[in-house]
Amino acid sequence: MTETRATREEQVLERIDRARRRRARVREEHITMAHGAGGKASQTLIEAVFLDAFRNPLLEPLEDGAVFGAGGARLAFTTDSYVVSPLFFPGGDIGDLAVNGTVNDLSVCGARPLYLSAGFVLEEGFPVEDLRRISASMARAAAAAGVSIVTGDTKVVQRGKADGCYVTTAGVGLLERDAALGVAHARPGDAVLVSGPVGEHGVTIMLARGELDIEADLVSDTAPLNGLVAALLDAAGGAVRCLRDATRGGVATILNEIARASGVAVVVEEDAVPVRPAVRGACELLGIDPLYVACEGRMVAVVAGEAADAALAALRGHPLGAGAAIVGRVRDDPPGLVLLKTAFGGTRIIDVLVGDPLPRIC
């Protein structure tokens, strides 16, 4: 009886897995906020609308940037838009976020970021003083990352048609190493590392919106990762399989992309994931999981098992990686899934969320 029940359950689960592998289709008639949250709804939109329209071999892997050869050099190219609210928050603002985000997308491709563009969409009535602050912050972030903002664009829309200021940056970087990084490169036996405590940016933003009446001593983790990536690649070079910065959707979403693209299982130890007490506390109160909360200066690294300690030492030797930790391992089964060994001693699946993590009612 128990056996037949178990077999039946297994069959049902296989059927579900087949359903999950079906081609992405957008059922909604309008864009909803979930489409921008970096979860399943975003993935579906990207695959069903953009990938469908633009399909080409460089876009298809859906990495953080495209890598290609041009004139004898290998380049990485990426773009990202920033619509954060509030524009200024503890630890940063939309300006350094926009520079660091693009620097990081290039860095995790294994490239040395060189040049950035900056596009501004400004709302009528936006204070020029705020724009000066944002620009100064972008200049500082660019200098810190060793990149130059070399081209740009400005548009103004009527009052009410935008939320103050949106920034889009694009960037090119040079690939100087042989490292072949990619979400599809994880292998059983690899180690999974994060470069520091997770969830700080997302929780900082939630608190900065002032809707929660929670106060905490937290600042955004926004930072350029190129130095940290270079330190890691210097130490563990060919053993590094994949790097991703854990932005929207957090570490959980990145790990799912890796598990799916590589056809492997990722097993994470909840106890090993660094989370600051203030982040943990806020997440407990809201009923959300820090693994899904955005970071803007943290990355996930998948490294060959034997190089894990060297990689960890390299990360910890850099100021931005001082809180790095080995959080899990790659296994062969069950492919495509991320599993968590909970601190309590149980196990569960970590799936990709549909949209933003929603606070629970009680």
């Binding site: 097993v267 943990r280 909970t342 569960r348 549909v354 629970r360 009680c362």
Partner: protein, 374 residues
């Protein structure tokens, strides 16, 4: 983290699990229902079932406030939200719940002004800041959240705020438990009682379950060790041939409940003759509405709502899942037509819903998961 980690200690869990296993009679199986969605969430989030012997099955009950809202009520709320001068406010997990014509998220995408709030008082604040708009709070939840809705109406009345109202969908837990007990296709050995609801109503209202139906009930807290301990307490009652209401969550739940909160609810709200529950159908005296004296704060009277009943989709077996007759994966559409991205039934919407919790956290066969994480 203090006051949290103590209740998640793996060593204590192992010791408790051994005592639980020791109490199980060989050859006997046990089915316990955790009534509250918060418990379902804890069970999956921490992987608690890994500690239970095969003989114990946990059945997920009807206590997910989002899951039990019928589609017609969602449509009514969306209708209100669609009025040009209205700001609809709602708890976050209500946003994705589908009615007959989409969810709050869809309605928001089509132009309605729908805002997520964390408390009805936030909604009242929005009303004060927007005197030229009508602000409606989508009130959902069991006795746990009803007092905050009642207090907010009382405050609005005291402050003379005229542009605030409540679309009241508060439900009460006892009639739902009774409906489950009276359902012929169900066999349960005991209940893990809802902790949060009990902070308000206390433990006394459950006594008919122990006395009349002979089923033990243990009111439990929301940390994993709370739940393990309450399972232990249930087994102990069964082993000793007792059937009582016990309070595992005494650090929070007073036996007599919260008299002040109950008084506020009673002042502002009264029982409806009947209310439709998603999946369970109409249950008499199972929900609250705003009293005549506070009609000025009752969206149901202020707006001309369509009030159409929408039948649950045929394929959806939410009712059987809510009653614990089916495990989520036994539903015909689970995981294929009905997923968290495209939920057909409400059990799939909220992270507290049995199906969503199972899909997100437990979908894979336990055995393979255990092997992979060994």
């Amino acid at each position: 983290m203090r006051f949290v980690d103590e209740y998640r200690d793996a060593d204590t869990a192992r010791a408790l699990a051994a005592r639980i296993a020791g109490l199980c009679e060989p050859g006997r199986t046990y089915k316990f229902m955790e009534v509250c969605g918060g418990h379902t969430h804890t069970i999956y989030k921490h992987g608690l079932e890994d500690y239970l012997p095969e003989a114990i099955t946990l059945v997920h009950g009807p206590g997910c406030p989002v899951c039990v809202i019928p589609m017609g009520r969602v449509d009514d709320a969306i209708h209100i939200a669609g009025q040009p001068d209205v700001i609809m406010t709602s708890f976050g997990d209500m946003m994705r719940v589908p009615g007959g014509h989409g969810s709050f998220f869809d309605s928001s995408a089509e132009g309605a002004d729908i805002r997520m709030v964390y408390s009805p008082l936030d909604a009242l604040k929005i009303a004060r800041l927007n005197p030229d708009r009508r602000v409606v709070f989508m009130a959902i939840g069991f006795e746990t959240t009803a007092p905050s809705t009642a207090m907010t109406i009382l405050r609005a009345a005291a402050e003379g705020v005229r542009n605030f109202s409540v679309f009241c969908n508060h439900v009460t837990i006892i009639p739902a438990i009774k409906a489950i007990l009276d359902s012929p296709d169900l066999r349960l050995d005991g209940f893990i009682g809802p902790g949060h609801v009990s902070t308000i109503i206390g433990c006394r209202p459950y006594e008919f379950i122990a006395r009349g139906y002979g089923k033990p009930l243990v009111v439990a807290g929301f940390e994993p060790l709370d739940i393990l301990q309450s399972i232990y307490m249930l087994l102990l009652q069964l082993a000793e041939g007792r059937s009582e209401v016990e309070n595992q969550y005494a650090r929070v739940v007073p036996w007599a409940g919260n008299v002040k909160a109950l008084r506020a609810v009673n002042e502002v709200m009264e029982l409806r003759p009947y209310f439709e529950w998603r999946g369970l159908g109409f249950i008499s005296h199972s929900a609250l509405r705003v009293r005549d004296e506070y009609a000025a704060y009752d969206a149901e009277r202020l707006f001309d709502i369509p009030g159409n009943r929408v039948a649950d989709p045929k394929a959806c077996q939410c009712g059987e899942v809510l009653k614990g007759v089916l495990k989520p994966w036994e539903c015909k559409v689970f995981g294929t037509a009905c997923t968290p991205e495209t939920p057909i039934g409400t059990c799939m919407v909220s992270s507290e819903g049995a199906c969503a919790a199972y899909y997100n956290f437990g979908r894979f066969s336990r055995q393979r998961v255990r092997e992979a994480t060994r």
